[in-house]
Amino acid sequence: MKKLSARRRHPLAALVVLLFALAATGGLYAALAPAPKAQADDSAQSLAIDEGKRLYSVGCATCHGMNGQGSSDGPSLVGVGSAAVDFQVGTGRMPAQQPGAQIPKKKNIYSQGEIDQIAAYIASLGPGPSIPTKEEYSPAGADIAKGGELFRTNCSQCHNFVGKGGALTDGKFAPSLKGVDPKHIYEAMQTGPQNMPSFPDTTMPQDTKADIIAYLREVDSSSSKNPGGFTLGTLGPVPEGLFAWVFGLGTLLGIAVWMAARTTKAKKS
């Protein structure tokens, strides 16, 4: 302890304390943050709807009611369609960890087979948009430029020019679309999950949805071209300004210090 106290005025002491405090805060957060729900059981398949109902009663009924009629904790699922189930469960948003302004996506704990079973059960409660086929959402052959125009009219106001996401009211946000399965993008447009409005086929036909997906794949995937170099997140001028200050002016100031520093003097002998 004495040793510690003797070194408290060391120039690096503040840094050590800071690192320690950060580690402690992080550790506490990790310890106190709620852990993911237990794995759903992985039983064999039988009749899809019956099996789906069973899965539903285990994972979903607490909030959405025994028969999908909804409760104070979750909306009615009658008529939302299988597409909504596939999106919500497939992206890990449902079952929700905790109620809140927005249910974020997380690791999906169901297999696609189980999701299809739950979807089949929900679809049996009332007619609604069904899970799209690959032909419907596939970006192959779609018009990328048309998709861009549609994206800027319908989507970029929340999701940014190239789908990087953005802020909504009171802590809600439009998520980034990078790496999202085209099927899920299609379903999101069709069903309007959470606070996102829906863009049903009646107002945004299936082929225009494919155009949007094609545009997104062109500009916002890991193979997208960044002609100018590092994109800084394509978030607009805020990161650009930060970069100019830190790396531009920062580098130049460092060089200025070097230029004005006195050259090493010869040792007196």
Partner: protein, 544 residues
């Protein structure tokens, strides 16, 4: 070839370079100019390079800007894009936007020059802010340099609009949104707003005129004014000679440093290439303003994260956090929600511009100052500067509230409220905190002068007492820590004059005296050690 000179005793020029110099001297008086400038002394300090960062990025902006004008079409004629960038093929856009795409994708090196141009602009204005803060906190604006302070300030102010007009030229969705904001702001002006807007845009928004009009403002009008101001700024720097920090051998009457030829010329000339080189490297690796991702401007489309470039961020913050006040009466609307921030924006800038004049008014200081202040020795000024920066950066947070909200998982409404309250509270808190810190540092300086430097060496005296060894300061350090003047506040004088007649002080004089007391009164300065105090302590009266 004749080399006849007017004076027969004059040594004939031998070297070709000398002959050119002679020729020029005979016409322009070159040698008289060189006499006082060739070996001009420039003090060496890293913070004196900040202005050079600005000068060189301005030069780079002109060089790259001229290149861009060779390819850019300042026209809002509608065209259909058929260039190589697939996601825009077949899309309708203005010629301005199409030519910017052309520069980016079809002109070899065009994208690089565009990126150098834009990065330079951001660094130019960032450099001006930091340079201005250096001058502010060290009191470099005092007589005889007040006018140069105003020239520099004008460069910053005009530079912001120069940047804004340039950002608007490509006519992409992001910049168009900025122009739309500008239109709304102009419309909010009482009585003449709609007229101003229609004259600026040549009719209804967006019309077909603003790109060519902004173009001539961006490449001709504002850079012309700025080039004149830069020249005036530099001439005054040469004329006044550079300021210097207090130090051994430095006084108000001299300037100590290295000569223009050769050292400063090599350093300053080299620094131009360094600035250009660093910005080129940044433009090589980092995208700026990727207009192709944004699409052409359409007044019915928008993207989230719509922001101006950083230097307009504080005005964006003002606009975002202002409550939506509107007064409607007698068939008219007074749009306070937009007009008030529009008016505060120049006031925030003017506050810092006017400061030197306020300070000299409060000191009655008519002397020239060439030795810079250490910021701690002017606690009120330093506090004011930090308060100003606090306002500035709080508003920057307001201007980027949506990006901050998504990246720190905060509520945009909470950030807005934070800025609303912070705009009033934080500068006051920053002022007092800074002043306290300055006074603390002054106390430490005083202790150091009187008792020497703490060495950290603990010594045990023969009778068992432990003491820390204090090392006396060198003569140079003693001088630096005591070189500053401590002005006395202006006093009103006795309320009754020597004849017993009551004197009346004007209210202005009272305010002046009150503020002067705040600046230089007891609460704002720790008296620096006097020679007597020093002698008394060092002549052996105890150690501590």
């Amino acid at each position: 070839m004749s080399t006849t000179t007017e004076s027969p005793t004059r040594r004939p020029a031998t070297h070709p370079g000398e002959r050119i110099a002679e020729w020029t001297d005979g016409r322009l008086g070159l040698y008289k100019l060189a006499k006082s400038n060739m070996r001009k002394i420039f003090p060496d300090h890293w913070s004196f390079m900040l202005g050079e960062v600005c000068l060189y990025s301005f030069t780079i902006l002109i060089l790259t800007g001229v290149y861009l004008t060779l390819f850019f079409h300042p026209s809002m004629n509608e065209v259909v894009y058929h260039g190589p960038y697939v996601p825009l093929q077949g899309v309708r856009m203005s010629d301005a936007y199409a030519s910017t795409l052309h520069i980016s994708f079809e002109v070899r090196g065009g994208l690089l020059i565009r990126q150098i141009h834009h990065w330079s602009a951001l660094i130019f204005i960032a450099g001006m802010i930091v340079h201005m803060m250096r001058v502010f906190f060290t009191g470099g604006f005092r007589k005889p340099r007040e006018l140069n302070w105003l020239f520099g300030w004008s460069l910053l102010f005009i530079g912001m609009f120069e940047g804004f007009t340039g950002y608007s030229l490509p006519d992409d969705l992001l910049s168009g949104t900025g122009i739309r904001f500008m239109e709304g702001a102009i419309l909010s002006t009482p009585i003449v707003g709609t007229y101003l807007s229609f004259f600026l845009f040549g009719g209804q928004f967006p019309g077909h005129d603003f790109v060519p009009r902004f173009y001539s403002v961006h490449i001709l009008l504002l850079p012309g004014i700025m080039a004149g101001l830069v020249a005036a700024h530099l001439i005054l720097i040469f004329y006044h000679k550079h300021t210097q920090f207090p130090g051994a051998g430095k006084s108000e009457k001299n300037v100590v440093g290295t000569p223009l030829l050769p050292v400063y010329m090599a350093k300053a000339g080299g620094f131009f290439f360094i600035v250009f080189g660093v910005i080129s490297a940044i433009a090589a690796v980092a995208t700026i303003n990727p207009i192709w991702t944004m699409g052409p401007y359409r007044p019915d489309q928008v993207s989230t994260g719509a922001q101006p470039d950083w230097y307009m961020g504080f005005s964006e913050g003002l606009i975002r956090v202002m409550p939506g006040w509107e007064i409607r009466a007698w068939g008219h609307t007074l749009v306070l929600g937009v007009f008030v921030p529009l008016m505060i924006f120049p006031l925030v800038m003017a506050a810092i511009a006017a400061y030197p004049f306020i300070e000299s008014w409060l000191t009655h200081d008519k002397r020239e100052h060439h030795i810079l202040d250490r910021p701690r020795n002017r606690p009120v000024r330093t506090g004011f500067g930090v308060a100003w920066l606090t306002v500035y950066f709080t508003l920057l947070i307001g201007g980027g509230n949506d990006i901050i909200a998504t990246h720190f998982h905060l509520s945009i409404n909470a950030i807005t409220w934070f800025v609303r309250v912070g705009f009033f509270v934080l500068p006051v808190a920053a002022y007092y905190a800074t002043k306290r810190i300055c006074l603390g540092l002054q106390r430490r300086d005083r202790d150091k002068v009187l008792h020497g430097r703490e060495t950290g060496i603990i010594k045990r005296l023969p009778h068992g007492e432990f003491i820390e060894v204090h090392e006396p300061l060198s003569q140079q350090q003693l001088h630096v820590l005591t070189a500053h003047a401590q002005p006395r506040p202006i006093e009103l004088g006795p309320a009754v004059d020597e004849n017993g007649v009551a004197r009346r002080s004007s209210p202005v004089a009272k305010i002046q005296a009150k503020m002067s007391e705040g600046f230089y009164g007891e609460g704002s300065n720790i008296p620096k050690p006097t020679a007597e105090e020093y002698e008394e302590i060092t002549s052996g009266h105890g150690h501590h």
